[in-house]
């Protein structure tokens, strides 16, 4: 495969590091996401712990070479536990000047930057607003630069395949991947297999890409690289024994819903309307119709949630999914499901707001919407996923709560978790207890208002069952018969009952644990959702520095776990980092009357570990 290379491998210095951040950046059309995904596979197979963060523009095909068209894929991997996609970039691959200028600020001093000099022409430099090439004016002196004319290398490598100039150049991402795989001592076999599978019907394209991959790898082995460019050794992470795979949040949710449906022994209707970054959940489930899931692309957000509510009325579990703007449109129907006491799972993959906001960027600004954003008194459980792998379990939990309590459940994810990926030990489904639903079938004593005395859940009687014909609706219903009732005392009782039902869930969920640190102490850093990784690492490092700080991460946001108030009262201070202007902190303060302090960030980017560390230290120093 490497016949074209005649030079013998040269000896390179090796440099051992515990963890490292690599970012691939190029044009939207340069295939950076594919490059990153393959590098992730190869890194996972090598045995590092890892976390990834794809960062791409909202425009599908932005003009080539433009700064707003830069698509990037970041991976953080190491021998330690990795829970974020990394703070600063150690190795940047910049496929053009725009990719360099938009990412340079995040590269650590002394970091390695690999540039394709073939793309550093006048046109591209102008588009990136460079008057002079940064490769020539000394502005990159603080970094180690590896300049390679990748374009020429690729064209030479794939020449036997006669793809033509344009198609040949499309292999340059694989050439680059080959080089980076060499740089980190990774095996390229998984990528070779991926390419063979991806281009199974186009053997020439597969061959050219593999040739480019091999050529990039061979270049590293044989080229006389400038001094200071060395092979990185990142030792394997110690991970619990088991079978692993890579998982992103979207896949975790999709598979969790399928698992939840099986554990509940109920068919699923997943109804959705396309919206970034939630659409891929619809795609993932639409491709899995061999399972008991029907997917429905509705005409709008409202129709999607309504179809889900209709399906739940008919005895399936209705699920709908969107991002903040779409959830806003669904709220009236969610209130109907609260009133009619029907199960429903509503998934919000949050993105930057308000309005269209930042569709491809992440934020946690829909918590108040989830907890309070409906008309009337409409309590419902709200739960949040904290990592891509956690999505699987949280989806199962959403199905459990919805069917056990005959209530809509709001599940919060976000754009970061949806796209980020991490290794996941594949669970043994036998370890999950089933929670089969019970449909009422006995006409004796049946009323649609009958409740389970323990959970207060209304009875689920599905159409088609003889003798249970009944009517439900959004008008207030009599507590005792289920018929329309405008009686004042009855409305009070029904409102109280709906609240008591949801409040009671706090007795049916695990007690709040401390994710890291002691159960009492000076400072608790309290988070929810996708900030888990950054908070975890930040708190870990502060504890290594001897600080008395703990990490508490809340999955159940409404109602809270029964012990949460007591747990928080064991800390002198409470710091609440959120990617919003302070929503959980507001709820904690109002529910528990504690002086919790916010730490907020709304840049569309996840927290960095150092931001958490700095805030912890500032907070503790101020005390």
């Amino acid at each position: 495969m490497e016949e074209a290379v005649t030079s013998a491998p040269v000896a390179h210095a090796e440099h051992t590091v515990d963890r490292i951040v690599v970012r691939f950046a190029g044009d939207s059309g340069d295939g950076m996401q594919l490059t990153g995904a393959n590098f992730t596979d190869d890194t996972a197979l090598f045995g590092n712990d890892l976390s990834t963060f794809p960062d791409f523009p909202a425009e599908i095909r932005a003009p080539a070479g433009s700064t707003f068209g830069v698509s990037a894929f970041q991976i953080y991997f190491g021998s330690d536990d990795i829970t974020t996609s990394g703070d600063a970039i150690d190795v940047l691959v910049a496929m053009n000047p725009a990719a360099l200028v938009t990412n340079l600020g995040e590269v650590v001093p002394g970091g390695l930057i690999i540039v394709d000099t073939g793309a550093f022409n006048e046109k591209n430099l102008n588009k990136a607003k460079y008057d002079v090439s940064p490769l020539e004016d000394g502005s990159l002196d603080a970094y180690r630069i590896l300049e390679i004319d990748i374009q020429s290398q690729v064209i030479a490598a794939v020449e036997p395949y006669n793809l033509g100039h344009k198609n040949s150049l499309r292999c340059k991402n694989m050439w680059t991947l080959g080089l980076v795989l060499w740089l980190f001592g990774r095996d390229k076999q998984a990528t070779v297999e991926n390419l063979q599978k991806k281009f199974a019907s186009k053997p020439d394209v597969a061959g050219a890409n593999i040739a480019a991959l091999n050529a990039g790898h061979a270049y590293g082995e044989t080229a006389e690289l400038p001094s200071g460019i060395e092979v990185y050794k990142v030792p394997r992470a110690k991970m619990e024994p088991g079978l692993y795979r890579d998982i992103n949040g979207t896949t975790g949710l999709a598979w969790g819903l399928l698992a939840g449906g099986q554990l509940a022994d109920v068919d699923l209707l997943f109804a959705s309307y396309p919206i970034t970054p939630a659409s891929s959940l619809l795609h993932t489930l639409a491709a899995r119709k061999e399972f008991d899931v029907t997917t429905f692309q509705a005409e709008d957000e409202i129709a999607a949630v309504c179809a889900a509510v209709g399906a739940s009325f008919a005895g399936s579990l209705g699920i709908t999914s969107s991002a903040g703007p779409g959830i806003a449109l669904k709220m009236e129907a969610i209130s109907l499901a609260v009133s009619a006491e029907l199960p429903l799972v509503v998934i919000n993959t949050q993105r930057g707001g308000p309005s269209t906001g930042l569709p491809t960027k992440t934020e946690q600004s829909d918590l108040l919407q989830a907890v309070y954003g409906r008309h009337g008194d409409t309590p419902l459980p709200v739960i949040a996923a904290s990592t891509p792998a956690d999505c699987f379990d949280v989806a199962i939990e959403a199905v459990r709560l919805a069917t056990r309590y005959m209530t809509p459940v709001m599940l919060l994810s976000d754009g970061y978790i949806a796209n980020a990926s991490e290794p996941w030990m594949i669970p043994d489904m036998a370890g999950y207890s089933p929670f089969p639903v019970t449909f009422c079938t006995a006409p004796e004593g049946f009323r649609p208002s009958n409740r389970d005395p323990e959970t207060l859940a209304r009875v689920w009687a599905k159409p088609g069952t003889p003798g249970l014909e009944h009517r439900v609706g959004g008008i207030e219903k009599s507590y005792s018969t289920g018929n329309i009732s405008y009686d004042p005392d009855n409305h009070q009782k029904m409102t109280d009952t709906r609240k008591a039902k949801v409040d009671g869930i706090s007795r049916d969920i695990p007690e709040q644990q401390v994710a890291l640190g002691n159960t009492t102490g000076k400072l608790a850093v309290v988070g929810w959702g996708s900030t888990y990784g950054a908070i975890h690492q930040g708190v870990k490092r502060c504890r290594q520095d001897g600080l008395d700080v703990s990490h508490i991460h809340i999955r159940y946001l409404s109602p809270f776990p029964a012990n949460l108030q007591e747990l928080l009262s064991g800390f002198d201070q409470v710091l609440v980092p959120e990617m919003n202007t302070g929503q959980l902190v507001k709820i904690l303060r109002s529910e528990f009357l504690i002086d919790a302090v916010p730490l907020n960030k709304v840049s569309g980017q996840p927290f960095k570990i150092r931001e958490i560390i700095n805030a912890v230290k500032a907070e503790m120093a101020g005390n």
């Binding site: 045995g47 119709k289 129709a303 309504c306 209709g310 599905k462 439900v472 609706g473 329309i484």
Partner: protein, 338 residues
């Protein structure tokens, strides 16, 4: 409780709830017609689901002793779609009004029809908002005086049947609230049709829009103001059937002609319920120049959405087998940590 279908009567389909429409409301007649019709359709009570939105008509499900869901304004077609997707065995009815189906819920009506979900949609058109006390609706005639249009409405109404045809409904019909025989026949056909069926029922609101359909309903004058269309028969109307509808081929428009005055029976348009262009012309006919067409305006079955989805799934399952979660979790790259 598991009563034989052939012993069911009108009483079996009447719920124990007190009917609360205004005295004289056309909805009473429609309710009675449907309750009476149900035993004749030969279906069990438990297999029937009535889904409604918001408005006077949407109280309908409470009075049927079947399954029923009184939902939110405009969304009944979407909720009904979910019911049908979850259980295709059910007969799903949508009870809606002109404001519910064509104003706030216009989008859902359009998409349920073009998607061809197997629903029987009954639109009670009284050309007014009754439950909110008399505002003009999207089907109100120009000049309708109402609390929100004290000087008369200026915006033009839409025709429910024309909208349904435009949205691709494979079954479109029009009938009248108090004409039990005609209404029963039309609804029977609509219910039998596999796929989306749309029936506009002209319905009198005695409180806010009394008498707007009098010309079409009053036995004395109605023959001159309505034409009852039947597949394969010429469009004849008038007290002594001396008037008819002819297609002016040059203008591509319909015209009213009088038999014996330059027109013969053979000149008249023969109703072809499978002809969409013709159905559009007939649906648009309105007074004072034209009679209103009642009956099945269009009926051309096409394959229905939920059935097609089921076929897709069956084929997929034949190929892939039933879903195996354990296998799914292990698809793609996996690796063992020892």
């Amino acid at each position: 409780m598991n009563q034989a279908v052939d012993t069911l009567t009108i009483d079996d389909f009447s719920s124990d709830q007190e009917v609360r429409w205004c005295p004289g409301c056309g909805d009473y007649a429609i309710l009675k017609t449907i309750q009476k019709l149900m035993p004749e359709l030969g279906k069990t009570r438990e297999s029937q689901v009535f889904v409604s939105g918001i408005g006077c008509s949407s109280r309908f499900p409470y009075y049927m002793n079947t399954y029923g869901f009184h939902t939110i304004h405009g969304r009944a077609p979407s909720i009904a779609t979910g019911v049908k997707l979850a259980n295709p065995e059910l007969d799903v009815w949508v009870i809606t009004g002109d404001g519910d189906a064509l104003s706030i819920g216009g989008n859902h009506t359009m998409h349920a029809l073009r998607r061809n979900v197997d629903l029987t949609i009954l639109l009670f058109n009284n050309e007014i908002y009754g439950l909110t006390k008399g505002q003009y609706s999207p089907t109100s005639k120009v000049g309708t005086r109402s609390p929100s249009t004290p000087e008369g409405s200026v915006d033009r109404p839409l025709s429910p049947c024309a909208i349904a045809l435009g949205a691709g409904a494979p079954f479109v019909a029009r009938s009248i609230d108090t004409e039990m025989k005609h209404l029963s026949a039309v609804i029977t056909e609509a219910h039998t049709h596999e796929g989306a069926s749309f029936v506009e029922i002209l319905q009198n609101c005695p409180i806010y829009n009394d008498g707007i359909f009098e010309q079409v309903k009053d036995k004395k004058i109605a023959p001159d103001f309505r034409v009852e269309v039947e597949h394969g028969k010429p469009l004849l109307f008038g007290k002594d059937k001396h008037k008819g509808i002819r297609l002016n081929r040059e203008k591509l428009a319909l015209e009213v002609v009088t038999l014996g005055e330059g027109a013969e029976l053979a000149d008249l348009l023969v109703h072809d319920q499978t002809n969409l262009a013709q159905a559009q012309l007939i649906a648009a006919m309105q007074g004072p120049d034209f009679p209103t067409a009642v009956g099945i305006l269009y009926h051309k079955p096409v394959s229905a959405y939920v059935a097609d989805l089921s076929d897709q799934r069956l084929k997929l399952r034949e190929k892939r087998g039933a879903g195996d979660l354990g296998k799914l979790l292990r698809t793609g790259h996996t690796w063992e940590v020892k």
